[in-house]
Subunit: 310 residues, 2 copies
């Protein structure tokens, strides 16, 4: 049996992602001991009951003491304050990372509050589900999914070795690992994740507020496309509130472009410009093919899921 | 063996839905003979090769001659012209229906061009997939899905009997059947299907046009929510062009509300109004629960599909 990559891992915030990191890391033999800090008594109780950690506390500073790897898995805006809270208690040489969906804000917080003798490497596993909480996590969550690391602009050997070790950690959990600049990460994710969630939340809200169409009708006929949006719009409210606030600039920039395009589309419908509609719809169809070819989606029928309206 | 509900069924336009109606109706023993008309030589060839019909022609009038049930399964805007073309060839007493996603335009076309001695009953099975063409159809497509019929404002006994028979036809194929006014149908579907498709087409188009984020990055990180939109945005371009043109008023009305709500959301992000975001995101989450409870979505994990970003 090989030695674990990290003797002790501290997970700060133990919801869907935090508990999945624990399950996956333990299953892979990538960590020895696990400590957890969570502000919720109910969550701490579940973590104990599920046997996820050797030590569970409300105090993040207590959880990180002696830890070789610290993983912040709180909602994005809570990461900075939590990092400030534990800064004095970190073990010299520890690797400090996170799993937040926004990276520039975390990178800045880490740079401001963490001591120079730890290795700060922000990270983001692009995986999740519509469920939340420690019971929702599972070891296979990261399998075949991308995790993006956004290391600091350092090229000293110990730091590079720490990045390499953290990369090995994610790979041990079955993830594919990519490295990029935190600002670019936030722009890419604004397109592929944050805007889709914003749009889904918005359309479900619009539908709920209609007077002419009842909510039960919306639900009854949701197979026509709406259903897919309800799934996305069921994601954790606090986490997503934080994502939009923490990635405001990129989200508003992408949203502005989306709105411009939507106005043009609206105008084409109003004036009956069928050729413009057909051109766009043909173009987007070819993008779907690329997604399938890239293996981000199976091409196999899955009749319970993929029906859209026709 | 019971007699079929209709001795001869003519299907005008044999793509995903038309070919699925044939497969399902034949499997259920609901029809005897099947005739098909399609303007595409390639489609006609596939229909013959698949053995879907006893007679295949390019001429709709020839296909409907002697048919007891005529099903228009062309893109929405082609239904009116096709109905005008066959009007003189229809068998007296025949039932004429369609499977288009927009109903007011079809109801109007039927009322204008069809003779008084046939029973015109527009219909819409809310089922489909991202694939198109006669090879994509399958007998189970309508199983457990709603089909909406929008009968004319007639209450003579022969017409009501024709509606009852058409209802039995859809039920034989496993569908749930609902009856409503065509204008209400178009408003409900504008919310649950047409707007979701428009939004999905738009966001995929916006993403494709970005200079700062490459298309391969968009595809690589599509698991964060974008992927679900690419599936919807891969639907048949011609059919969807027609849907937006044929249901212009309802779509623009719902789109206007969506855009208003989106502006308010954008403003809340810009001004950091986290409470407003959290309130909406909590509300939309509860709608998802209703969708699951209504059985429009299984609550069971389906890890290949339901991952959204976190």
């Amino acid at each position: 049996m090989t030695a674990p990559l990290y003797d002790t891992m501290a997970v700060i915030g133990c919801g869907l992602i935090g508990s999945s990191v624990i399950r996956a890391a333990v299953a892979a033999g990538a960590v020895g001991r696990v400590t957890v800090a969570d502000p919720s008594a109910a969550v701490r109780e579940r973590v104990l009951a599920l046997g996820l950690a050797q030590s569970v506390t409300a105090d993040p500073a207590q959880a990180v003491a002696g830890a070789d790897l610290v993983v912040f898995a709180t909602p994005p805006l809570a990461i900075g304050p939590a990092a400030a809270l534990v800064a004095g208690a970190l073990k010299p040489g520890a690797t400090v990372t996170d799993v937040g969906s926004v990276k520039a804000a975390v990178a800045e917080a880490f740079a401001q509050v963490l001591p120079a003798n730890v290795f700060a490497i922000p990270g983001h596993p692009i995986a999740g589900s519509e469920d939340s909480g420690p019971d929702a996590g599972f070891a296979g969550l990261f399998h075949g999914r991308w995790t993006v690391l956004t290391p600091q602009a350092r090229d000293d050997a110990p730091y590079l070795a720490a990045v390499e070790r953290l990369t090995a950690f994610w790979r041990a959990m079955g993830a594919l690992v990519d490295v990029m600049d935190e600002k670019h990460h936030d722009l890419v994710l604004a397109v592929t994740s944050h805007l889709p969630h914003l749009i889904a939340y918005n359309i479900v809200g619009t539908a709920a507020d209609l007077e002419e169409v009842t909510q039960s009708e919306v639900i009854k006929y949701s197979a026509g496309g709406f259903r897919d949006f309800t799934r996305i719009a069921a994601s954790d409210p606090i986490m997503w509130r934080d994502v939009f606030l923490a990635n405001k600039d990129a989200v508003l920039e992408i949203l502005g472009r989306f709105t411009e395009d939507l106005q043009a589309l609206s105008r084409a419908i109003r004036w009956g410009e069928g050729d413009k509609l057909e051109e766009l719809f043909t173009r987007t169809r070819s993008i779907r093919r690329s997604v399938i070819e890239a293996g981000q989606e199976t091409a196999e029928p899955d009749f319970g899921r993929r029906h859209s309206e026709e």
